[in-house]
Every structure is written in C-alpha cells, then in structure tokens.
C-alpha cells in the first residue's frame, strides 16, 4: 500500500528526520490559512496523488503569497492527474536548495535483504544516473536480523563524499530512515530529494513509502491511512471479499484462480482477440474460494459496461470446481447477465462442477476443454455480441 507524500514525511518525522513544517489542505481557504501561518517568503502547493510525474502535470506550484497559494490550491484541487482526482494538497514552506541528495531503503528481493541506495546527486534523474554513472550510486545491504549498524551508515556517508559537517546529521537521518522502514514493515522508504540547504542543514523535501500489504494486519495505524478515494467502488468491494481485481480496457471479463494463471488467461484473450478483444480486467478469486466469492467476482466483472463476454477459467487445486459452479449459478440467478459466458473447469472436482453447470441449463453458456479452446471461444463470443 502506497502512502501519500505527506503521510510518508509525517511518518519520517516520528523517527527524527527533519521535514518542512507543512500541512495538508482540502480547500483553497485552508491552503491560504496554512500559507499565512507558515510565515515563509515562498510556499509550495503540492498535489497528493499516487502517481509519478505530478510536477509535469501542473500539480506542484510555487506561491509567493498566501493569496497566490489559495489560487494554486483552487487550480490543483479537483485536477485530474493520470486519471486520479486531486483531493488534498500539501502546503510546504519553500526550501533553500543548495544540493539534492537521494536516499532510499528498499528490499533487494534476490539478496533477501534490505538495501540502502544513496547518491550525492539526487533529484529526478536518479534512474538515468544509475545507468550512465553507476559509481555515483552507493549501495549497502542491511542484515535483516542485525539491522543497520552505525559503521555502515558512516561508510555510506563516506562513499557518497559528503562534506564532513554533513556526516553527523546524514547518519542520524539514515539510521532514522532504517528504523522507520523496519518499524513500518515498508517495502520502500525514499527521500528524494534530501535537500542540503544554504546553511548546510539537511531537509527531507519529498518522500515516498510503500507498506508491505501482508504486514497491514499488524500495522493498524498505517493501514488506517489507506486512501480509498483513489480506488473504484468495485476495487473496494473486491478487496473486502479477498479478490484481487484490476480494471483494464479490453472487452473480455476474466475470472480465474491464481494470479499467474489469471495473467496467462488475460494474455491468451489478447493473443487470439487482439487489443479490442483483450482482457477487461485482472481478477484472481484466490485459493479456496467459496461460492460467495465467486458470486461477488461475477457481479464485479459484469458491472463493467465494456464487457462483451466473460471467460471463467478455473484450474482447481485448493479451489474446488463444484464450489465455483455453485457460486456461479447463485450469482447468475441474481445478476441474469445477457453477455455470453465461456466456462472451463479443470482440476479438483471438475467433473462435479461440470455436472452442476450442465444441469442448470444456462443459456449463453459454453464449456471449454483447454485454455486455448476457452480463449478462442470467448473471443468469438465477444465478437458475435457486437
């Protein structure tokens, strides 16, 4: 789960990392009041949305007076950035930027250890720098059992060629960032830029955190920060039912068990149907889905008006095909869909599942044997539905 910039920075501050004294506004008036209170020559009005490139989209503006801050907030609040509506802006006092440092901790999956990534040349072009001048990026693995040791933080500062007077504050920030990373069950804690101000002090001007979804049950405080305004109604419904659902642009609704097979089924519709008859969604009902889960999944898929056919591909392992069949019939009777449905049941209790479906005599439903057969039938059915 991603945190907003303001949530990330406020969390950093709990671990002693210096951040600008900004506040969040949801209305232009609030933005003006905050700008007045900040008592700074310049303030920055920053859109709080979970997408990159908000600056280029006009979501970050400098203001030289509270009145100007209000104007910018008026323009930014409600703005659409890559499909997301801006609901909140962060009003930060302007920083006196001399240099920009990049500092992040993330999990290195292949090493199975957290990894510090730091560079004295921070800013937007850090990924480019990693390619063109990799020596300027300092990396340091952290032992997951011991945690970050202070000699390692000193080593990072040294290898970054930071000036001596910055060592102590930098090491303090790095130790704080690791503590924050570990205590938040983060997959990423990133400060970019960590600004070196004119007076030599350091300030975390922008921040990003991603929290491990599997750890949310024990990170209740962070879990409560979820911004549901950026999720569709269906996505919330799906999450609550234990279904993974992502809406896409194609016309074939897919219901599958297991993420890998769900993606494979999506790929197959596009392989045989091209862009137009590609997948309308990613949907994984999970392992051991109950009839209720299947019913919810079908309702979610059919709530998408672009769906011209539904492809149900179940390879039962933990999931039982008879459970899927029962759930499907239950949902079918409620929703009464008029789009064609292709269903393939294979694996655990497939025979029982197929019998349940056959006995229900559902019009518009075709059975399929193989995955290829199922994808081809779904594409043909979607085309026929035009």
């Amino acid at each position: 789960m991603k945190l907003h910039e303001y949530q990330s920075k406020f969390r950093f501050a709990e671990f002693g990392i210096p951040i600008p004294k900004g506040k969040v506004a949801t209305t232009p008036e609030e933005a003006m009041t905050i700008a007045q209170e900040l008592d700074s020559n310049v303030v920055v009005v920053k859109a709080q949305v979970h997408v990159g490139g908000r600056g280029k989209a006009g979501g970050v503006k400098l203001a030289k007076s509270p009145a100007e801050a209000k104007e910018h907030a008026e323009a930014i609040l409600g703005m659409d950035i890559k499909g997301l509506t801006v609901e909140k802006v962060l009003i930060d006092p302007g920083a006196d930027i001399k240099d920009e440092i990049y500092l992040a901790i993330t999990n290195d999956r292949s090493a199975g250890m957290p990894l510090i990534i730091a560079s004295a040349e921070g800013g937007m072009d850090i990924e480019e720098l990693a390619k063109t001048d990799p020596d300027k990026i300092v990396r340091e693995h952290i032992d997951p059992i011991w945690g970050l040791k202070s000699y390692q933080a000193n080593s990072v500062a040294s290898r970054m060629n930071l000036s001596r007077e910055q060592w102590r504050p930098f090491v303090k920030i790095l130790m704080g960032l690791y503590q924050c990373f570990a205590e938040s069950d983060a997959e990423l804690a990133e400060i970019n830029p960590l600004v070196v101000q004119g007076d030599g002090s350091l300030l975390a001007v922008d921040g990003k955190m991603i929290i491990d979804d599997s750890a949310l049950p024990r990170q209740k405080k962070l879990a409560a920060m979820r911004d549901s305004s950026e999720e569709g109604e269906e996505e919330i419904l799906a999450r609550e039912a234990g279904i993974s659902y992502v809406k896409l642009d194609g016309t074939i609704g897919c219901m599958v068990n297991g993420a890998g097979l769900a993606m494979t089924t999506m790929d197959m519709t596009k392989l045989y149907g091209g862009e137009e008859y590609g997948p309308a969604n990613f949907l994984d009902i999970g392992g051991g889905a109950t009839p209720e889960t299947v019913a919810t999944a079908l309702k979610i898929i059919l709530s998408d008006e672009n769906v011209k056919a539904v492809l149900i591909n179940i390879f039962g392992g933990i999931t039982r095909c008879d459970d899927v069949a029962n759930g499907f019939i239950e949902a079918y009777n409620i929703v009464q869909p008029d789009v064609p449905i292709v269903m393939r049941l294979q694996g655990t209790n497939a025979k029982e599942g197929r019998e349940i479906i056959e006995n229900a005599n559902i019009p518009n439903l075709q059975s399929a044997e193989t995955l290829t057969d199922a994808a081809q039938k779904a594409v043909a059915a979607a085309k026929g539905g035009n």
Binding site: T106, N107, R109, P144, L188, T264, F315, G317
Partner: protein, 288 residues
C-alpha cells in the same frame, strides 16, 4: 531418481490438525508420501487419523521419527516461527505453503535457513511433486505422470495448467516444483534449474515465470552459461498493467521494469524456447 525428495523421504507436517493441514496431509499420504508425524504445540501425544503421531515440537518429532523434511501449513503470523523451528530441529528441507507472510519476517527466516545450511521451498508455493511417488504440498495429482520433463514455476495454477498440457501430449514429468511468487523466497529458479541439470532422469525443463522482479533474467543468465538440457518457458503477464512501481529504488535495484517483454527477450537470447501460449510448450519440447 528425482529432485528434492522420493517415496522414502520422511516428512512431518507442522499444522497437521488444521483444516487445510489435515485435508492435504490425507491427500499426500494417499499419493504415497511417507508422512511420519505431525507437529502441533499442545497436542503432542495425540494421533492424526489414528496412524500418524502428533508431537509438540519439531525437535521431538525428528528425534522420534528421523524426519528430514517438513511441510509448514500454519497461518501467516505463526509461519516464520515454524520455519525457524524446523531449521533448529535439523530439518533439511522445509516446504512452506503459507501465504501473506510479511516480507520482513521472510528475510529473517531465509537468512536463518541459509546460515544453517537447510533448504526452504516457498513460502506461498504449492510445494513439489514426484509423479507416482510422493508430494509435499497441494499440487493436484491428476496433472502428473512419470516422465522426463522437469517443471519449475512461480505460479501454482499455471503449473497445473502446463502439467496437464504435458500429460495430454503424452509427456510426463520427473519432478514438478513450485517456488512461489513472493518477493523473498527460499529456493530460486536457478537453484532448481541446477538440480534438474544434474538429475539424470530429467531430459528437458519447463520454466514458468511472471512479470515483476528479475528472477527470470537471472535464470536466463544461468541457462546460457550452465545448462545443456533444452528449456522451454512461458512468462505470464504480457497484458497485465504495470505493477506497483517501487519508486526509483526498484528500477535501480533490479535494473529493469520486470516486464514480460524484457524477460522473454532475455530467455530467447539465452537459447530458451519461449512460448506465447503455455499449451504450446509440449510441442516446443518435442521439437527441441
């Protein structure tokens, strides 16, 4: 011979009396797995289905039965502890099926496994199956028959799909291994590829990957340098939306975006037969 285990491997099940644990233990035993004990703290001295002794600790189970392998099938909050307990009791092979274990816990657990020279398969994996001999985990037996193809996969149900396709084409498997799709896992593609390369009963290998991470890229490098046996692969997720981006740091660590395109290219460049449709894999292997 197969990899990871055979019908003589002595297995304990941590969580044998749970709903999933008991269901799958029965299926494993029906298939031929030598389940010698179960572990449930507080239930030591009882019997599972009147024929499998239950112990309070893995240590006690190992002492009484000589078990060398363990299946961990307990809820996420208890699973890392279960893995560490198995390591400390001297278990050589731990198969962890549990999903939704926090990454931070898995990093600690895998570090402990490595430091003690044990092997962990998973977590969040379907386990492995040696056709007509045994299985540890939940792979349905209907997709398996003895043969010469080694299958290694990140994804559970996609594995079943390809195992089934191989069977329909009259081909069998030497061993089917699900390594799990979590960010931090105990056994990598490369570990299993190496086992298949060294296994005289495996003549060709199927690798099933997914978008995200760089495990398939690392596997491609290994295949190019070290494998003599033909490998066919399928990468799921060509049409999936770009996954959650780990800020700049993710791209810097992994050196790429982890797309299906990148992975397919790396595998094809390494001489792997890359399938666009997983049901084509048997045909690709026949012609190899």
């Amino acid at each position: 011979m197969a990899i990871l285990g055979n019908k003589d491997t002595k297995v304990v099940v941590q969580g044998i009396t749970g709903g999933q644990g008991s269901f799958h233990t029965r299926l494993m035993m029906e298939y031929g797995t030598n389940v010698v004990g179960g572990v449930v703290p507080g239930k030591g001295g009882q019997w599972f289905d009147d024929n499998v002794p239950v112990f309070d600790t893995v240590q006690a189970a190992v002492e009484a039965t000589g078990a060398t392998a363990s299946m961990v099938i307990v809820p996420a909050p208890f699973a890392p502890d279960g893995i560490i307990e198995a390591v400390d009791a001297g278990i050589e092979l731990i198969v962890c099926l549990t999903e939704h274990i926090p990454v931070a816990d898995m990093m600690k657990a895998t570090a402990h496994v490595k430091a003690n020279g044990a092997r962990l398969l998973g977590p969040n994996c379907p386990g492995f199956l040696v056709p007509n001999q045994m299985k540890i985990g939940i792979i349905p037996t209907m997709i398996a028959q003895p043969g010469k193809v080694g299958v290694v996969s990140k994804s559970g149900t996609l594995t079943y799909e390809v195992g089934f396709a191989l069977m329909n084409a009259g081909m069998g498997q030497s061993t089917i291994v699900g390594i799990g799709g979590d960010p931090v896992i105990g056994t990598s593609f490369v570990d299993v590829l190496e086992m298949f390369e060294n296994d005289p009963e495996t003549e060709s290998v199927v690798l099933l990957g997914e978008i995200g991470g760089n495990a398939e890229i690392v596997a491609a490098e290994y295949i190019e340098k070290h494998m003599s046996k033909p490998v066919a692969a399928f990468i799921a997720g060509q049409t999936a939306p770009p996954g959650k981006r780990m800020g700049h740091a993710g791209a810097i660590v992994e050196g790429g975006e982890g797309t299906a395109e990148e992975k397919n290219k790396a595998l094809a460049d390494a001489g792997v037969l890359v399938a666009k449709n997983p049901e084509e894999i048997p045909e690709l292997l026949k012609n190899a």
